[in-house]
Symmetry: C2
Subunit: 326 residues, 2 copies
């Protein structure tokens, strides 16, 4: 019945993987069934989150890093989160451009995630997609987010290693993200390191990182790369490897706490989506929502009262059918 | 009882405004009561959304624009969404820096919004904060988002005018956000227009915008500014004014549809938050959530089954009180 075949999926069949990801993107009941089968088989892959401002050259960096791992004999999954997607199908376009760069290599799987409609769930779908790739035997999974939005930050935090990409000459950039940067980044990259201002950016970053320096903890290295010329990619891979080694050795309460808080975030994401879906699935709630939205837009009702009435009418027993209304 | 006084709030009392925003940030039951009082009084302000990548100089631009409006006799509210806030209190630090720039001017109200805990609701709280400022008589309300994340984009879409800020020499930047940019931006700004590459950025942007050009529609202007030197701020204000005039003249089905879809998004945000809060408020659900999160982290259960069990146990009748537990 399912659009994918679980045995083929677990054997790493590319088409089954692609279909399975579509299933979790669309968040039907089969998504839960699929994830129940997949989840116990996860945990083997190294998940690498890569984030940074637009223009930092993340895509090139990700592509080169993927090729590097592939040359080492790994199968690599890439999941991109594309904030432009809700508008004009940017994700699909992006995929095509990327595919032509990476070639149709069967050891590199690339997929852009987009929100579908109003129900949200992008973060949840992304984390599920990573789990599918993990279960399908991709040893390295790179999650790339454009932008530094709230959801994007949360997604990167679910990775095993988080890489923050900067470019030279953006002092403001560092200022803007400085509060968050120290806790997110396990590895920092200064990409486009042939540009003017690289030393200044490095010094600023070092100064920021030194504030958080602790002798017994991981102190994030700064790697310089020129992704377009494939320079520094090996250094980046080495830094990532070193961090994963460090964190596996240091398995302790801190890391268990981190894993639990990721799991909690994930449960809350799922709950939010599920509760909303359940509510809207009750007879008439979708129509009621549309009607209330026009009422709110026209200021005939305030949003809080509208939500109250939606919840009340959806939870009223026997509401769909007994009354003479409509 | 309430931490704010509604009459003082509506009279524009700064302290009451600040307290009211804290109430919606913390999302208690009094938030609903407050918003019911406030909502009918909204709709007078012009809400200006300003977005763009970190490093584009948005903060300076917003500050200068606020001063410009103030000099024209307006009261100005600024709401900043700061993605760094969940980590290290970046928002509060940011406020302090901004306050010293803008001075303690009673006609400019500035507030950074941060997520509090895991329940989300940043977008909802931001939109509520805007409504409070609107009801309190602030004629211009500027919503500034750092980053180009999903939530940030949604928030900017709720504004009356959306301004997208770019800087010269970031061809990649335009590439990265090009799919979304055309539908979001009502006005484009190239800030730091004394930098090299301004002409190229302008040409690229013009080329992108020309693709979407329609003779009967609004065609977004490109304004060049150097915010740090207060250059071009009057042009920006003029472009914003022109757009709001255009959109008020063109009040038609398109705009009604846009308002309805914003209202729907807002209702869905509220619903998601409310449903989750209701579920967790049921006796024991918070503890159950924590327990399940550790189970998921240790792979003793998959997230979907965990969510299922949370929902089932929370909706079981008479579960909180009849048993001998606790």
């Amino acid at each position: 019945m399912a659009a994918y075949q679980i045995d083929k999926l677990l054997a790493g069949d590319v088409r089954s993987v692609a279909r399975a990801i579509s299933v979790v993107e669309h968040a039907g009941d089969d998504a839960a069934e699929l994830m129940r089968a997949v989840y116990p088989l996860t945990g083997k892959a190294t998940v690498i989150g890569i984030t940074g401002a637009p223009g930092a050259g993340k895509s090139s960096l990700v592509d080169k890093l993927a090729s590097f791992y592939k040359d080492e004999g790994e199968r690599v999954g890439i999941v991109c989160i594309d904030p432009s997607s809700p508008f004009s199908g940017g994700a699909i376009l992006g995929d095509r451009i990327r595919m032509s760069t990476l070639g149709l290599d069967k050891n590199i799987f690339i997929r852009s995630m987009a929100t579908r409609g109003n129900l949200g769930g992008l973060s949840r779908a992304t984390v599920d997609a990573v789990a599918i790739l993990d279960a399908a035997g991709y040893g390295k999974i790179i999650v790339e987010t454009v932008g530094v939005g709230q959801d994007e930050v949360e997604i990167v935090k679910t990775a095993d290693v988080s890489v923050v990409v900067l470019v030279p000459g953006m002092g403001d950039d560092i200022q803007a993200i400085k509060a968050g940067i120290m806790e997110i980044g396990d590895v920092f990259v200064i990409n486009k390191a042939d540009r003017e201002g690289v030393l200044r950016t490095q010094k600023e970053l070092e100064a920021l990182l030194s504030l958080a320096h602790r002798p017994d903890m991981w102190n994030p290295p700064i790697v310089k790369t020129i992704a377009t010329e494939s320079k520094g990619i090996d250094d980046l891979a080495a830094a990532i490897g070193k961090y994963t080694e460090f964190s596996s050795m240091a398995y302790n309460d801190d890391i268990a706490d981190r894993k639990t808080s990721i799991a909690k975030w994930r449960l809350l994401e799922l709950l939010r989506e599920r509760l909303l879906r359940d509510l809207l699935a009750r007879g008439g709630s979708n129509e009621a929502l549309d009607r209330l939205a026009s009422d709110v837009a026209a200021k005939r009702i305030d949003p809080y009262t509208a939500v109250e009435s939606l919840i009340t009418s959806a939870s009223a027993p026997g509401r769909s059918g007994s009354g003479p209304n409509n």
